[in-house]
Symmetry: C2
Subunit: 197 residues, 2 copies
DNA sequence: TTCCTTTCTTAAGATATCTTAATTTTTTTT
DNA sequence: AAAAAAAATTAAGATATCTTAAGAAAGGAA
């Protein structure tokens, strides 16, 4: 079977070791505290106004974050795929109601854990605190880059940049969702694509 | 004297203890690795294309981050005041050339330290790793909120929101800099302010 | 106080992007 | 394979925000 525990654990270890060296026994400890779940395509993982209890590590699949604006349109703020963590950060950290939804874009298998579990693991395994300090730094940098792109590029450039730099995303995600993420109406994106070649 | 070492150390301790409990001896250790410097108003702290070697903790003052766009206009991306850390995160973490400037908006006193010093301290004092894990989480959340504001609000609302929610900033920073930060031309902001009351 | 620089305001014309609504194409379900 | 649903395209008119250019006000230096 494709997602047998051992293979998943290997995937997790490989990901962790990109940042900090972990022993098998340490991975075992972390893994023992993680739960697994598979969401079907279009399944809602978190609803607006709920508290986001978990941080999700994607084994395979795509998860989007979005909110619904005053006109009833979905506005996508984030995509996450294999080997990314996703959650509603503010809700997860501060235990406040989320203003956004989390939804599986395709069938998606995740490992997940609660803030309490994570805090307990930090104490047992200080290395993990270093790992998450580094992961959080990288998330922050990714976010600053995203803001930078919106600051510097017009719609068309943003789209070209997205397709070029994130082929893993642009091939798995429908165009109207990419439009939403890039803050372009699907109609206008369609217009832009027409005179692209 | 107003910024005598003891008083500065007290300020630092108070700030650290908002997140994690620190003993005086631990603060002493951290403080012994920090340098102090005062920048004059309009003094450049970091130039574009330089590597940002330090993370700066502001004791008193205002520092702005900005880049210069293709038309030669300054575009402000961040303000930091008393009790904030500021740096060019990407440059500081990855040791890549900064695409932005750091500049004192008013006379500004800072404590600062290098990545190497910080990494050494993390090993000696695991609590500090926790502190920075939490500070980084909060920076990330602040950034997500900022993106949210740009996503949800038109220029006028952004301005009203800024003035209302960040009075400490809006009273110390000239209007054309606020306009730049809010991604509004100073002319248009002036227009918006006219029909505000 | 006076001069010089910095900051703020006014107004007219330009433009990137949106809105609405209808049609076509693609994908999913029966 | 047909029917239904979802996604993508087209086009015309609308609008928030920018650009340019000039002048007024405010603040700092001499």
């Amino acid at each position: 079977m494709c997602n047998a525990p051992t293979k998943v654990k290997e995937q997790l270890k490989k990901y962790f070791c990109r940042y900090v060296d972990f022993e098998d026994t340490e991975i075992d400890l972390v893994y023992s505290k993680l739960s697994t779940k598979t969401f079907r395509k279009k399944e809602i993982i978190l609803k607006e106004s709920q508290i986001c209890k978990y941080n999700y590590f994607i084994i395979k699949g795509v998860i989007r974050s979005f909110y619904i604006d005053e006109k009833g349109n979905e506005r996508i703020t984030q995509f996450a795929i294999d080997n990314w963590w996703t959650t509603n950060m503010e809700s997860f950290i501060a235990k406040t109601p989320s203003t956004q939804y989390l939804e599986a874009v395709e069938d998606t298998t995740v490992l997940y854990l609660s803030k309490e579990t994570l805090d307990t693991l930090y104490v047992k395994l200080p290395k993990l605190e270093r790992l998450f300090r580094m992961i959080t730094e990288n998330m922050l940098i990714a976010n600053l880059r995203k803001s930078d792109i919106f600051l510097k590029m017009k719609s068309k450039e943003r789209y070209v940049h997205f397709v070029k730099n994130l082929p893993d995303f642009s091939q798995r995600i429908p165009q109207y969702m990419i439009a939403s993420y890039l803050e372009i109406t699907p109609e206008y994106l369609s217009e832009l694509r027409k005179n692209l070649h």
